[in-house]
């Protein structure tokens, strides 16, 4: 007799795909946290946090329309366009373009690597690859808040990509520092001889298991432990605070052109204090991860008042952009000098 039974966990495996344009675009358990978890839960069980009698029909309608808008973006991104006789997904092209900045730090160091220019490595690899790794980490951490704010998920794969490139840049930075830095001691003396270096070394060591397990095969093998393992990303984020704090005198180091950041391209020492940049960027990334804030955003989105979320978040996002501008400035200025094998002093 043919059975009509469903698998016992069937109800849990199907994500609420309608708003995201299908399961192929949505990988709920692939990354450390699921930013939209709050409002997904609310969508699945609207009575969980909100008495149904409070919801009027007028209130529900705009929210539904808004989610339909969001799904339309994901659906639009899922469509193909024709280029040179072949069909390319819009999403694929957008992801490639948005993912390109992640390879820039390694690209900047490539000439010095191929010519084995030790002076360039010793002079500016920390700035080029270190700042590059920092940027990649921030962009990796930016994906979840942007999903929370926009409800779109087509750019979700960027989180894995930026995470991987963060690990490569960090490992490259560590190897170059260990081989070419002026600090006393052998390789380990150079990469872990000072406390700030030890923090950086620990970050890289923690990034290695994340890099190794950053694939579907590892995800399947590790099961529920995979997500817990990936939460190490937050430990790395925390260690970066100590790394940068100790690197530049707890944010108070300043001076006559040789400030904590060392010869900034625009000559301004304050904006190039890496700890300040870290704080400016992290405030946004952290705020959007706080559960009460996520619930507040979900409530506003459910009301169809996403504009209120954007207005409220705008100054925090502006501060994030402010911090990132100087990270990019540092990366481009020092990186270009590295590319020309004419390194800027750190």
């Amino acid at each position: 007799m043919a059975t009509t039974r469903e698998p016992p966990y069937a109800g849990y495996t199907a994500p609420p795909t309608a708003q995201y344009g299908g399961p192929e675009t949505y990988q709920p358990d692939l990354y450390p946290d699921d930013a939209t978890g709050t409002w997904e839960d609310e969508q699945q069980s609207p009575t969980l946090n909100r008495p149904p009698q409070r919801q009027t029909r007028q209130r529900q309608q705009p929210a539904e329309l808004q989610r339909a808008d969001r799904s339309r973006v994901d659906e639009w991104m899922d469509k193909d366009f024709k280029f040179g006789g072949s069909h390319i997904k819009r999403k694929a092209l957008a992801l490639v373009l948005l993912g390109l900045p992640a390879v820039v730090p390694l690209f900047f160091m490539a000439p010095a690597f191929f010519t084995m220019n030790v002076a360039t490595f010793a002079g500016s690899v920390d700035d080029t690859l270190g700042t590059g790794a920092e940027i990649c980490l921030f962009l990796c951490l930016l994906v979840s808040p942007m999903v929370t704010l926009t409800g779109q998920r087509w750019f979700f794969p960027l989180r894995r990509w930026y995470g991987i490139m963060f690990a490569f840049s960090g490992i490259g930075d560590m190897l170059a520092a260990g081989l070419t830095d002026n600090f006393a001691g052998g390789f380990f003396g150079k990469v872990a001889g000072h406390v700030f270096e030890l923090m950086g070394f620990m970050m890289v060591m923690l990034a290695i298991p994340l890099l190794i397990t950053g694939n579907h095969w590892a995800q399947r093998k590790l099961g529920r432990y995979w997500k817990q393992l990936q939460r190490i990303t937050y430990v790395i984020w925390g260690l970066l605070f100590f790394h940068l704090s100790l690197l530049e005198g707890l944010g108070f180091q300043n001076g006559n052109g040789h400030n904590g950041s060392g010869n900034p391209g625009d000559g301004d020492p304050i904006f190039h204090q890496r700890l300040y940049e870290y704080a400016a960027c992290s405030l946004f990334l952290l705020t959007l991860r706080l559960p009460p804030v996520k619930r507040w955003i979900a409530a506003r989105q459910r009301e169809g008042r996403n504009w209120l979320v954007w207005v409220t978040i705008a100054p925090i996002f502006a501060l994030f952009i402010f911090g990132m501008i100087f990270c990019f400035n540092e990366e481009i200025f020092k990186g270009f000098d590295s590319f020309m094998e004419h390194p800027s002093a750190e």
Partner: protein, 224 residues
């Protein structure tokens, strides 16, 4: 405020409070940053003036660096190379009597460092264009009665002559070290030692002279 909104805020008071508080803080910080950034040009100009560097006097294409920045840039190139050379030399001394292959490997590494140093030094300042810029820079300062900009220090004819000699001698040293690294026996290898030491001493003396020249404020007598 409608009943529904009030109800939502009642249910999410913490989230709303956090967002609003952080948002206000962020707005203050962004405004303070913009206000500070508005004065960046004037600050940079006055900082450069303190270091005898007037941006307006810079010929096009010449970075107007302070003396400290020039010295920092120079040290950023020379110091790592010195450390690497010291390590390679120590490895050579340990192996010159027992392990031909290891000694040759140390010499090969020395050659790579010497060549990289040459390339970096040549790139930093001692091009004909930079030399011409330096002359122009110094002439403008001299004619206007102002002090010589720090950026010109690295590009003075005196420093350039020494640096060119240092680069030339360093290339000779690299060639000699390459020959030494091709030795077939330990005896042949050691036979180069005296010549290599003499060349090394010459380069060292020139590098010290450059460092001294950079660290010394330029005087009118040195100007062209």
């Amino acid at each position: 405020m409608s009943e529904t909104y009030a109800d939502d805020y009642e249910r999410e008071p913490v989230g709303g409070f956090i967002v609003v508080a952080i948002s206000i803080l962020s707005a203050v910080l962004v405004l303070a940053g913009l206000f500070y950034a508005a004065g960046a040009h004037a600050r940079t100009k006055s900082a450069l003036a303190v270091n005898n560097c007037e941006p307006s006097m810079s010929p096009s294409g010449l970075p107007c660096n302070s003396q400290q920045m020039v010295i920092g840039e120079y040290n950023g190139i020379v110091n790592p190379a010195s450390k690497l050379l010291a390590t390679d030399m120590a490895a050579y001394i340990v192996n010159e009597r027992h392990h031909l292959a290891a000694a040759e490997a140390a010499l090969t590494s020395e050659v790579a460092t010497e060549q990289a140093l040459d390339k970096s030094l040549a790139a930093i300042a001692y091009t004909s264009q930079n030399y011409a810029n330096a002359i122009n820079l110094i002439t403008i300062a001299f004619d206007s009665g102002g002090s010589t900009p720090g950026a010109a220090i690295l590009l003075t004819p005196q420093a350039t002559v020494i640096a060119n000699a240092a680069v030339r001698d360093n290339q000779a040293l690299a060639t000699l070290t390459t020959e030494q690294a091709r030795s077939k026996s330990l005896t042949q290898l050691r036979s180069f030692n005296t010549r290599v030491e003499a060349d090394t001493a010459a380069v060292q003396a020139e590098m010290k002279l450059i460092g001294k020249t950079l660290a010394t404020p330029i005087t009118a007598a040195q100007e062209p």
